[in-house]
């Protein structure tokens, strides 16, 4: 499964010129608002016709302006979940869910209505009207509606952006299940570091209509300098870990990662379960000697591999901890006081309580790689 996009397009004064290719299970199109991510996803869906370029999904050419090819949206079999849900107001939830199925050729219907309803927990809503649903419920029904058209690819355009934090927390696990339990590849548009770090296997980072970085999430999310200004504080290392055991006495879970053991607030997950964590750079302290008499429980030894100026007095330091990179944001004053230099041996110190629900999520199962 792969998506290839190579287009240039002009919208009023805004020019977009982007090329990326992804074979990931959940590819995030990530960037500040106005970076062109929604335009790109609309082009993949067939809602916008690019001035020039080529779009392929799984080897099938959907757009090739040179050859004069433009497959209309209803023939693409690409599901779309919109930010504003767009449920049909004159149909019940059940009617909305069945809508796309009706237009799918019987031989290509792989989605099972009971399985989808169960996956999204929307069984009790079936007879309701969209107007009577909460924001989170609407979004779950919209996901179900797109899935039941048995799409080859699922596009999600900031599906959580119009929801409050509680509703976001309600939907995120469903998106994780979608990613892990169905075979449909997903392209997910977002401007939130938290969402991308938690959900994405691959990231395409956009700025002013151009692709500035793309690749596996752990690698791309290290580029703190590329993050939109308002999201920079949320930036940090993304690590794929696994539950080792729980510490019932203190209500903690111990995670195993390449960098070493990490103690985080207790997670309701069985030992062996993959967990994706984000360690915000601003939550990481650096020590030049192994600290003693310190409350922080996570102390990871490593080597400084990168240092770059951050915003204001900040310096962003990359620490290689046994193959996994942890990012720390410290002040220039501290850097000089500690005489930090590339190749220097240091310890990254992370408080257990800096891990909250927003930056721990279900990890991608191992077979997701590749």
């Amino acid at each position: 499964m792969s998506v290839l996009v190579d287009i240039s397009h002009r919208l009023g004064g805004f020019a977009i010129d982007a090329r990326f290719e992804s074979a990931g299970r959940l590819t995030a199109l990530f960037g500040a608002s106005g970076s062109g991510k929604t335009t790109l996803i609309d082009m993949i869906a067939g809602l916008i016709r690019p001035d020039r370029g080529r779009i392929e999904v799984d080897g099938r050419v959907l757009v090739d302006t040179d050859a004069g090819i433009f497959v209309p949206k209803h023939k693409r079999r690409i599901g779309m979940v919109f930010q504003d849900a767009r449920l049909f107001p004159h149909l019940s939830v059940a009617g909305n869910l069945r809508y796309g199925r009706w237009f799918t050729p019987p031989a290509e219907r792989y989605a099972d209505i009971d399985a989808v309803v169960d996956l999204l927990g929307i069984g009790p809503l079936m007879n309701r009207r969209p107007a009577k649903l909460s924001g989170g419920e609407k979004q779950r029904v919209a996901i179900g509606r797109a899935l039941l058209a048995s799409p080859r690819l699922l596009l999600m355009d900031e599906p959580l952006a119009s929801l409050d934090e509680a509703r976001k927390a309600e939907i995120l696990p469903y998106v994780e299940r979608l990613r892990d339990e169905t075979k449909i590849p997903i392209v997910y548009v977002s401007h939130s570091v938290a969402e991308v770090a938690r959900l994405a296997s691959d990231v395409v980072m956009l700025a002013q209509g151009n692709v500035v970085a793309s690749g596996p999430t752990e690698a791309v999310m290290q580029r703190l300098d590329l993050l939109p200004a308002e999201e920079r504080g949320e930036g940090g290392a993304v690590l794929d870990t696994r539950v080792l055991h729980h510490d019932e006495t203190f209500g903690m879970t111990v995670l195993g990662s390449a960098a070493g053991e990490l103690r985080v607030p207790q997670l309701a997950m069985k030992a062996g379960t993959p967990v994706r964590i984000r360690i915000r750079a601003r939550d990481v302290m650096i020590a030049t000697e192994k600290p003693t008499g310190l409350s922080a429980l996570n102390i990871l030894p490593g080597t400084i591999t990168a240092m770059s100026p951050g915003e204001g007095p900040a310096v962003e330091v990359g620490i290689d901890c046994n193959g996994a990179t942890v990012l720390a944001r410290i002040t220039e004053q501290s850097r000089q006081a500690l005489k930090l230099h590339l190749g220097g041996k240091v310890f990254a110190v992370i408080k257990t309580v800096s891990f909250d629900r927003a930056n721990t999520g279900a990890g991608l199962p191992a077979e997701a790689d590749g």
Binding site: H74, F82, R86, L87, P89, Y99, G100
Partner: protein
Amino acid sequence: MNWLLDLTPDEWNAVRLSIKVATVAMLASLPPGILIALLLARGQFWGKTVLNGLVHLPLILPPVVTGYLLLLTFGRRGPAGAFLAEHFGIVFSFRWTGAALACGVMGFPLMVRAIRLSIEAVDRKMEAAAGTLGANPLWVFATITLPLILPGLIAGAILAFAKAMGEFGATITFVSNIPNETQTLPSAIYTFTQVPGGDEGALRLTLISIVISMAALVASEVLARRVGRRLDIE
């Protein structure tokens, strides 16, 4: 009450004919009404202003002028009238069908206006969403657009019906005032007022006119409310 319902056969015929003419005029102008409303609401083409003007012309022209133009075009010797009579056996002049045509034309701008407004109110994002679910443009129209504009459609149809019930000038000019064939309620009332002792008949038909128009209005309100409740626009 007996006095009201004790109609002469000619008066009954006028009532029946009016309802028949108005119903046919309303139903026959619905498909072209939807089409023209779609063109005006969504189309981008040269001459859109001209089309808009043509559609609205019956609203601003004196009805007699519209009736006379119909006579020139759809009369026996008119170009369209001769063609239709020769090839399809459809004759308008001095027939109830001609009355229906005149009423349809006079109500057309009202119908198109109501439908056009409701089409313009449709969220086109809904249609785009239906497209991504595999519906081609025709299906999108049938399953999304049409149900969403239903209240406007009903309003437009009832307006056209009410206009047809009251149409007088164009009808009498085009198809005259022939009892049992083209004498609709307004023509019959007019005839009563022109003869001595016709006051009672004129009053009876006037009251019947009011009852039918009110019934149509109430029916449209009830229908529109039921549809509106079902839609529950978010």
